[in-house]
């Protein structure tokens, strides 16, 4: 597959080899032979593949990553995730161990599988290196995939793989271990016998959690880590390498513009990843049979998630919201079914301090734009932009002074958040403690769902007992409009018992 034609000078290699010797030189890259199932993706692929393969492999891998992300987003346990992912992996991205074939790593089937895994990883790297947000998500999902595969790997093969990595882990010699036995024993909790473990010397920066908890022996900048901490070290290594190379990729990316075949595919891929989790179709937040008008917003605001409720309170208090706050809130209101006319009335009434002229010139256009009433063709055809999902709101990490948009769970300090929650009537100690914990672990949506479950606990119990709602109806909320709809429906059910029955 590699171009071996001696007459064509590969422009990238020109400078490296003396042209006189070129025809005798070995090719600089060689076909990878994938001796192991796992791959740390250090060497980029060099062989040629068709454009169809390029796209199909990438899409297959993307499906897996999206599922993995969805699982973590829904806070599934590792076991649940494993059972969910395993069949998908079999279907889209199988990767068998050497033992599964009589000829081991030489089997062509295994080679193909591994090649697909390798190539698809690198294609997605290209697609997801453009923005920091995408890079972070990609690295996270890839790390989880790698961890999953690593844990499922055959132990002998895993050891061989780890040894092949040439990581900077220096085994501790018996003599040295003998000298420091006491220190090792007293610094490593849960250790039975020092001699039972294989010990490695690594730079302490590689095991910061162990250092922080003071559960590892340090000497002159080296941490003495027992073999059983291997997994966490490999993971750290994998993530670190991936993040570093994604950075590099993003810098090299502009050069890819020259290729007009790949760029559209890559753009398409990265868009798909973006929508993989914010599953929200138009009209989903609408509640049937209820006319929502500008005047009913106040009473409906009790069903709003904290982010929107906060915006509403601020709007009522200051009679003003800054641009991004208006945008976030307008789109949400659009999502719950407020018509454009009513929406304009709502904002007009809310901005008490502004004259009609000021309102019309400064604010009205933006509202109409959000509804797709004005603007470019694309905007009008798409009827404006969709309401923001939690993911979108959470990823805004630049909420400035005086701005009230964003997600309070993420953008408020914990103490202020708790104060805000209490002001909305959530004062249950257990719930607040849970919220603090979730926020500490950066699981903001879990915190929000926790509050939802607390404030609707009676209704949820009821519908569960009735059997009117299944577990799927009570899945984790990842969209403010879902929050509203569910909250509203639950309260309606509670008000009119037996209506559904």
């Amino acid at each position: 597959m590699i171009r071996q034609d001696a007459h064509r000078i590969d422009p990238k290699r020109r400078a490296i080899i003396d042209p006189k010797k070129r025809q005798f030189a070995a090719p600089i890259y060689k076909q990878q032979d994938y001796p192991f199932r796992l791959n740390l993706y250090d060497t980029p692929p060099t062989a040629e593949i068709t454009l169809e393969q390029f796209e199909q492999w990438a899409i297959d891998r993307l499906k897996i990553l999206a599922e993995i992300e969805a699982c973590s987003y829904r806070n599934k346990s590792p076991a649940e995730t494993a059972s969910h992912i395993t069949p998908l992996l079999q279907k889209f991205l199988p990767l068998s161990s050497n033992t599964s074939s009589a000829t081991g790593a030489l089997d062509q089937r295994l080679k193909n599988e591994r090649q697909k895994d390798h190539y698809s990883h690198f294609i997605l790297r290209l697609a997801f290196s453009a923005t920091e947000d995408l890079r972070r998500r990609f690295a996270r999902a890839e790390t989880m995939l790698f961890r999953f595969r690593f844990q499922n790997d055959d132990s002998r093969e895993r050891r061989a793989f780890v040894e092949s990595l040439n990581l900077d882990w220096e085994p501790v010699s018996d003599e040295e271990r003998h000298e420091i036995t006491e220190s090792l024993a007293s610094s490593t909790p849960g250790l039975r016998r020092v001699d039972d473990e294989t010990w490695y010397k690594v730079d302490w920066e590689k095991v910061p959690e162990l250092v922080e908890r003071r559960t590892v022996f340090l000497k002159k900048g080296k941490a003495y880590v027992p073999g059983r901490e291997q997994l966490s070290m490999i993971m750290a290594e994998f993530t670190a390498r991936l993040e570093r190379s994604l950075e590099l990729t993003s810098r090299a990316l502009p050069r890819l513009d020259e290729d007009d075949r790949l760029t559209p595919i890559l753009n398409h891929l990265s868009k798909n990843f973006g929508s993989a989790e914010s599953v929200y179709s138009e009209g989903e937040g609408h509640v049937d049979g209820t006319a929502i008008t500008a005047s009913s917003i106040d009473s409906l605001s009790q069903h709003f998630p904290l982010c929107m409720r906060n915006l509403h309170t601020n709007l009522r208090k200051n009679h003003h919201l800054k641009h991004f706050g208006r945008l976030q809130y307008t789109l949400f209101l659009k999502g719950i079914g407020l018509s454009l006319e009513e929406c304009i009335i709502f904002w007009r009434q809310s901005f008490k301090g502004k004259t009609d002229d000021e309102f019309n010139s400064q604010y009205k256009y933006n509202i109409r734009h959000a509804y797709g009433d004005v603007g470019g063709d694309v905007n009008r055809r798409g009827r404006g932009y969709p309401p923001y999902s939690c993911q979108k709101i959470l990823s805004d990490n630049n909420v400035g002074i005086g701005q009230t948009h964003g997600c309070p769970y993420r953008h408020y300090s914990v103490d202020n958040l708790v104060g805000l929650l209490q002001s909305t009537g959530v004062s249950d100690k257990e719930t607040l403690r849970g919220v603090r914990e979730d926020v500490g672990k950066q699981r903001y949506h879990i915190a929000c769902n926790r509050v939802f479950e607390y404030s609707h606990k009676n209704e949820i119990k009821k519908v569960k007992e009735d059997g009117t709602w299944t577990q799927a109806d009570l899945d984790t909320i990842v969209h403010p409009n879902t929050y509203f709809k569910r909250s509203y429906l639950l309260k309606q059910l509670a008000k009119a018992p037996g209506r559904d029955a």
Partner: protein
Amino acid sequence: MPHPVSPTGSPRKDDEELPDAPAEENKENGVKVEDLFNDDSDEEFPTSTGQDVKMESSPAPAPEPAPAPSGVDSDVMLAFYQRLFPFRYLFQWLNHGIVPTRDFGNREFALTLQNDAYLRYQSYPTADLFRKDILKMNPSRFEIGPVYSTNPRDRKTLRGGQMKPVSKELVFDIDMTDYDDIRTCCQKANICAKCWAFVTMAIKVIDAALRDDFGFEHILWVYSGRRGAHAWVCDPRARNLSDDRRRAIAGYLEILRGGSQSGKRVNLKRPLHPHLTRSLDILKNHFAQTTLKDQDTFASSEQADRLLALLPDKNLNDALKRKWDSSPDRPSISKWADIDSLAKTGKSSTLNTTTLRDAKQDIVLEYTYPRLDAEVSKKMIHLLKSPFVIHPGTGRICVPIDPRRAEEFDPLSVPTVMELLAEIDAYDAKHPAGTAEVEMPDVEGSAINGSDMKGSGRKLQDYEKTSLKPYVEFFRSFIAGLLKEERTVKREREEVKPTVKADPMEF
């Protein structure tokens, strides 16, 4: 005003020298004297300095007769910067070399002006410009922040999030106020030789951990000017640590948890981690000397009750309490000994000797282990006061402390700026060198190339006439060690370079 300079000597001096320095810069940089005193434009940085100064309600940067709130007045401050402040070494320290690099140019400085305005995001391309601006602004003190990915002065031209901190020394901050509940001699801002011992032991423990455990070598300890000490870990490896690695070190070193209301604050798992065993070895004697003798911490009945609350066995506690109540003036050292002697008598049947030993170890650590302000260490962007500036309250210079001789350091004998200026006058009076005196203020700035530093013909710099000399020389030798390592690191980097593989994204 406490101004120990002889009334005839000092004003004469200032009158003579102050006009000199601007005149010199006039020659060098082509700045008119009027411009120098005119605060709304600076030829070197027309966009940045000018703007920031205006924002801060245009403080007059030139020597201003308004007295600083502290007692060190602005004339004294200016004379200090002109004559004594080691700009050249500070530059070399932060630049990690002689030729100006990004390490210095993109470094944030934050200046506290005489009117208490706070100017952040200042930066200087060279040592000369740094000195010039400090002389112009005459700050009461300034702090050092991280090296940023771009020049901090350009931050407004960049979109949000583009300017990122890249590196900074790993820093630690020890402050005596954190020890208020266990020191009996002084409170709040005051210190004496007795309570300085706490800082001494903190230096020893932290220094040992950083060197032995983390393998750092270039650790600069600096007296904070009043009642604490700072550590600057300058190894390249330490400077480039990310925030989560910094947090890891802070967590590793921190063993006191909770505030004064949270009961027993040291709860360590056994066996003790080697770091703690070593710390305990260092601290045992200090506990005997400082806590039990000098501070006599457990003398009062409240403190004794607190001690009892930390002991595990109720029967033993009751016995101790009876004994101590009967002799109210019993010194701490006897009370501490009572714990063991009563335990040995076997009065308490429930007593577990291991638990008691562990509790006693925990107590030793609670009363002596360093109390760090961990937040300072965790964030790269945290600012910390520069070495060698004057503490505005005490007038003392923030001089380096030699950790190998930490015990010998006496904060109360650290020279104050007034003493130093008087020493220069005294020296000059004794050695009337005639011409040398007039040119002296320029030596520090213009002799930066250092070529004429050696040999008999060189002029004595002002700091060498004073008791600041040993401190500056210690700083210089510290920098020499750092630069030496820096050179080898750079060389290694250059050697490694060719073997690095081609861009991994090249297909």
